[in-house]
Symmetry: C3
Subunit: 160 residues, 3 copies
């Protein structure tokens, strides 16, 4: 009973590289400490979960446009501050690599190894016209009620 | 006693359309599940609560300038990402309508029907020179001590 | 035992003046109500803690570049919205002063007087090449495990 109150749950709303890195460092840290962790990816956060290759899916014109404009996966994300058209993101990735800090892609793999529950928000997928085929494997698909159920059992709740 | 620990409380700091939508979807979802929900609107979050018509209030020059620059209500908000001078916000509203997802204006009405407590931060109103006359009906007015009292009784606390 | 569950913990990720002010108003408010408060400064949040004078430290070329681009302390921060190259931040500081609201610098001093625990994230310092010499006095230095330990004992957890 007590244990069910001890989860960690995050809404990952942002699609910024730096915020995504922060969310995965907290998530993998909490999971390593034995917590059940849920990450609920909504709106731009879905970009973090996109496959980096183009996936051919039939879509409406508007959904196609959104799909083209939205970055595809960890390698394409910008940073929330001083991005300078992607240069800032490149500098941050370069300096993290040089200092032996895990990349976002590696952090996502660690999270999956540690059984972090990664949920794609179905309503956001609908709004942005993103399909399951375009997202990485191993995800859950759910809406706000599922998020609230996890959040309700969590001591640590964050909106990122 | 237990029940008083079971509220949901959000600081809505952002005035971005997409973040406002996310906050109201969580708020109305939690309220529908029977939670007492408080939304504390501060800084740019106040823009979400502004009436869409011009309200004639006597103000200092600086307050007038702020008033002119800040968007008036849900229809005027931009999005946090890919806004392109308002085009992104228009696209998002258009696609949400087409897919039968409630607009921000409708979500606010649902929140009020579900007795979500919507509080305007009085210190932020003071900083931005926004008066009660310029905000929608049905709000509470309070400061950080009131927010902390609600947050302290909440299992889910978010800063959006 | 109960008391240890009653902390307030924030991740201050943002380096925006307005978000920093919001975080310190919540932190000092909670501390004034007798809570143990921890603020964990990560990524751009470190800018809030930088000394305003130039500190001569030996650095790699990239770290030097980051150091030059990142704002030095409360007086140099921009705001998250309508900053207009710093004009918005100036207007906000001017209007807050006129309305007798504490500045960020004053809020930081109040926080330190109230024993708010301010922690600089060592991994972020490493990524951005920021050294202890460049940050204000009275800080703790730690990583995500320390943050999670505090967060786990907190009723109010925020990511700002």
């Amino acid at each position: 009973m007590e244990q069910t109150q001890d989860k960690t749950t995050m809404v990952v709303f942002s699609g910024d590289l730096d915020k995504a890195i922060a969310s995965f460092i907290i998530a993998t840290g909490a999971a390593a400490m034995g917590k059940q962790v849920t990450m609920f990816f909504t709106f731009w956060g879905l970009n973090v979960l996109r496959r980096d290759e183009y996936v051919n899916v039939e879509k409406s014109f508007l959904d196609k446009m959104f799909g083209k404009m939205l970055p595809r996966g960890p390698e394409k994300l910008g940073i929330s501050n001083m991005n300078y058209g992607g240069l800032g993101a490149k500098m941050m990735k370069y300096t993290m690599k040089k200092k032996n800090i895990a990349s976002l892609k590696e952090l996502i793999e660690v999270a999956q190894d540690l059984d972090v529950k990664m949920v794609a928000c179905t309503m956001s997928m609908d709004v942005l016209g993103i399909t399951k085929e375009e997202l990485i494997d191993g995800l859950d698909y759910a809406g706000v009620a599922s998020y609230l159920a996890d959040a309700d059992e969590s001591k640590i709740n964050l909106f990122i």
